[in-house]
């Protein structure tokens, strides 16, 4: 056993898949930052709101005002550097830190794909993505045409974890037995050409897509791993993700997954792409080919292997933490985030807050739009940790306005997957007395 682990760690393979992954990753990130910027979302999400929702344990991450643009510029530059492989290590560390800081700033835009990019970029810090076909090779006059197998496999493993946990999350009665929430979403896509008024309205299509989606997620890593099914699997990847892109507003995520899935192809495939790239940059590459870069052996660093081992143990356990809470995870959302639970629910809420002033023995209601943007209000209204954080913010706000002795109550109605809306938060509980923690949130009323 130990012997075979050792043997595996010392096994080498061609480095070209890492090269293509590096270029693809860098360009996709550059594209998605430019896209985010051009849509005016930096302003809308990071500058306009007067209040930001932060993650538990990361309350110290503070908004930067206009300086947030510097972070985005840093992020964009490091993406470009990653793509061309210039100062790779510095670039990927900068990317990871700036991107993660941006994400930590505002919880309302938590998306699994942003989390995926945080996690992936952390992993990439430890992988030699610049070992060949990079500017770093020219500068250092060194390259490694072969790299340890584990470097490529760890990316495959990360993708496998994402897909398999996404698939496992779909094994629930709403998804499989009632085709929810697809049954709600698909008919509303009636304005799609050809399929909108036909297929999207059919009951069997909702079920086929629910079951198909579950099976796709669970099987695709294996279909990609085996050479015989690989091309078919990749076409499936393209079809699946582009189809979801057409149906839902999920931004660049589908393209990131498509590009990422290329890592499963063998070195021959990637070499072909590199050759095409070489032809494109022909005039430069001709001159470059005259420079003789030394091919050196890349050695695995034991410490890195340990870091990655711990990283993957965490990645495997974090999505399972919901098991320590009772009840429907989609309802109480404890352990919902960072678990690859994607497109699982249609949840809408409406939450208002009542401030009880004990000194004057009177109460009043808060007008949320005074403090939150409409998107923040929408997200806050159905997620318990948002409701709690906002209640504490309101408490602080009104205390600073001279209301000393106040209590904050939520009146919250939430509808999950088309069920009738129900009271969500116990309206009798003064939320100022509740501290956020990993303890069970007993103040969430159970789903009827």
């Amino acid at each position: 056993m130990i012997l075979s682990v050792k043997k595996y760690i010392n096994a080498y393979t061609d480095s070209s898949p890492l090269v293509i992954f590096r270029i693809g990753f860098g360009l996709m990130m550059l594209f998605s930052i430019v896209r985010f910027w051009s849509k005016g979302w930096i302003e809308k999400i990071y500058i306009e709101p007067s209040f930001h929702f932060t993650y538990y344990g990361f309350e110290w991450v503070k908004p930067l005002g206009d300086k947030i643009y510097i972070l985005f510029i840093l992020c964009a530059i490091s993406s470009a550097l990653i793509a061309i492989g210039l100062k790779y290590k510095l670039a990927i560390i900068t990317f990871f830190l700036s991107f993660t800081y941006i994400e930590l700033l505002e919880k309302t835009i938590y998306l699994n794909h942003y989390y995926f990019i945080c996690v992936l970029s952390f992993l990439l810090i430890f992988l030699p993505l610049n070992s060949s076909f990079s500017i770093d090779n020219l500068i250092n006059n060194k390259k490694s045409n072969s790299v340890p197998r584990w470097t490529i496999d760890s990316i495959k493993l990360m993708l496998g974890i994402v897909y398999i946990y996404a698939g496992l999350a779909k094994i629930n009665s709403d998804w499989l037995l009632q085709a929810l929430p697809l049954k709600i979403w698909l008919p509303s896509k009636y304005d799609l050409p050809i399929i909108g008024e036909t297929l999207m309205q059919e009951n069997w299509v909702h079920f086929a897509m629910s079951w198909g989606g579950m099976l796709y997620d669970l099987l695709i890593p294996f279909l990609l791993l085996y050479k015989r099914t690989r091309t078919f699997a990749f076409l499936l990847v393209v079809f699946f993700h582009v189809f979801t892109r057409v149906l839902f507003p999920i931004g660049v995520f589908p393209y990131i997954m498509i590009i990422s899935a290329l890592i499963f192809f063998d070195a021959k495939f990637h070499k072909k792409i590199i050759n095409i790239l070489k032809k494109i940059i022909n005039p430069i590459s001709k001159r470059l080919s005259q420079i003789n870069i030394q091919n050196v052996k890349f050695y695995s660093n034991k410490k890195i292997i340990w870091v990655l081992a711990i990283f993957f143990i965490l990645q495997l356990t974090i999505p399972l933490r919901h098991l320590s809470y009772n009840g429907n995870i989609m309802w109480h959302e404890q352990g919902y985030r960072f678990s690859w639970r994607v497109m699982l629910m249609e949840k809408i809420g409406y939450t208002t807050f009542k401030i009880l002033d004990n000194d004057k023995n009177q109460f009043f209601y808060v007008q949320n739009e005074e403090f939150l943007t409409s998107y923040q209000e929408k997200q806050m209204s159905f997620q318990p940790d948002f409701i709690l954080e906002y209640a504490h913010f309101l408490g602080k706000h009104f205390k600073s306005k001279g209301f000393e002795n106040i209590e904050v109550f939520a009146e919250s109605y939430v509808s999950l997957n088309g069920r009738r809306s129900q009271m969500y938060i116990d309206p009798e509980i003064n939320l100022l007395n509740i501290k956020d923690s990993f303890k069970n949130k007993y103040w969430i009323l159970p789903l009827k």
Binding site: L235, V238, M343, E346, I348, Q362, F364, R420, S421
Partner: protein, 367 residues
């Protein structure tokens, strides 16, 4: 190479399907087009025609008052003002397109009126009605101040600065008519465009109508007419913030009547009842029924209507003089507020959920 090419071309073909920018009429089986036609032709446009005829009449009586400034003519202005204000209750919720662009709602009905700003405007004779600071110095609440709120009204109009007061009165009504015509004419000229926008995007007609309807119910109706005066958002009651405050001082039932009229408009819109008669056409109610939206055994539309009716009955049971109600027994107003409020989650959560109205404007992966 071949592989890459196949993959690429398939991606392009599939991606290409995502466009969908042609002008076909789409639906989920429900005829959204018929709904839009009914709401536009039988509710919105007739309501605007009615409203603009009332504001024209009001302008005529104001002209008459300017020509012959006496109490008799001022009384006439007051009557026509109330008629127009009642008619306004039927259009405030349609804050769409041109109305939204020119801030029609805010210019017409921001209350309480800013009396000191009005006085300043009158005497300085210089003001810009497009400046948000002047929203509360124009429209119905400001007319209310000018015709019902001035102490010794007729003597002021006949006094030293009378000409300036008359000029401001004229400026108020002609601005109202100018804005009203702009919005009305756009409804008429843009009608075909509006009713054919049946897709499901944040900017398509039904999505805007529905969002604005809910916004109106929550803000224009619930908060402005009842919540704010009752002190729901401030802790202490604010009786001077009722709608038509000055007219209500002398007539005692104005605010309540306006609120009840607004309820009629809300009911008509939800059930698709024609503005001019009681014929029922396609509506949100019908759409919800088509989608089989149910709620504890009853249809969601019935539950919504019953909840709205309960709220209407609660307003009916209040003192005819809302101000008196607030000053003597505000608790009843808070209870009424709760009954109005009960419909908000039904509209905002349950109805929106069933209609799957698309209001997202940034990426989401459904979690």
């Amino acid at each position: 190479m071949k592989k890459i090419f196949t993959v690429l071309s398939i991606s392009i073909i599939i991606t290409g399907c995502g466009g969908g920018d042609n002008n076909d009429i789409y639906s989920d089986g429900f005829d959204r087009n018929a709904l839009l036609i009914n709401i536009t032709d039988n509710i919105i446009i007739p309501a605007y025609n009615n409203f603009s005829s009332k504001t024209t009449e009001l302008e005529n009586t104001i002209d008459q008052f300017i020509a012959e400034t006496n109490q008799n003519n001022l009384d006439l202005v007051q009557t026509k003002w109330l008629d127009a204000y009642m008619a306004w209750q039927h259009i405030e919720m349609f804050d769409i397109n041109m109305a939204e662009e020119i801030n029609f709602r805010k210019k017409m009905n921001s209350y309480p009126a800013n009396g000191s700003r009005i006085e300043l405007n009158v005497l300085s004779e210089s003001y810009d009605f497009n400046d948000p600071n002047h929203y509360a110095a124009q429209g119905f609440p400001s007319l209310d101040y000018m015709i019902n709120g001035l102490q010794n009204g007729i003597t002021i109009y006949n006094g030293a600065d009378g000409g300036k007061y008359l000029a401001y009165l004229k400026a108020l009504i002609s601005t109202i008519n100018f804005n009203t015509n702009e919005v009305k004419n756009e409804w008429i000229s843009n009608r075909d465009n509006f009713i054919s926008s049946t897709e499901n995007t944040a900017t398509s007609s039904l999505n805007k109508l529905t969002n604005d309807f809910i916004f109106y119910y929550e803000k224009g109706f619930r908060a402005n007419k009842i919540g704010i005066p009752a002190g729901v958002f401030s802790g202490s009651k604010l009786p001077q913030n009722i709608e038509a405050y000055y007219h209500n001082l002398s007539n005692n039932n104005t605010s309540k009547n306006l609120a009840l009229e607004a309820f009629t408009a809300i009911n008509k819109f939800f059930s698709g009842v024609h503005f001019n008669n009681s014929t029922e056409g396609s509506s949100l109610k019908e759409y919800l029924n088509y989608l089989n939206a149910t709620d504890d055994g009853d249809t969601l539309s019935n539950v919504i209507i019953a909840t709205i009716n309960t709220a209407e009955a609660a307003i009916n049971d209040l003192d005819d003089d809302l101000m008196n109600q607030i000053n003597t027994d505000n608790y009843q107003l808070l209870v009424t507020y709760d009954k109005i409020q009960a419909a908000v989650p039904l509209l905002k959560v349950d109805m929106i959920g069933h209609l799957s109205i698309d209001i997202d404007y940034i990426d989401a992966d459904g979690d």
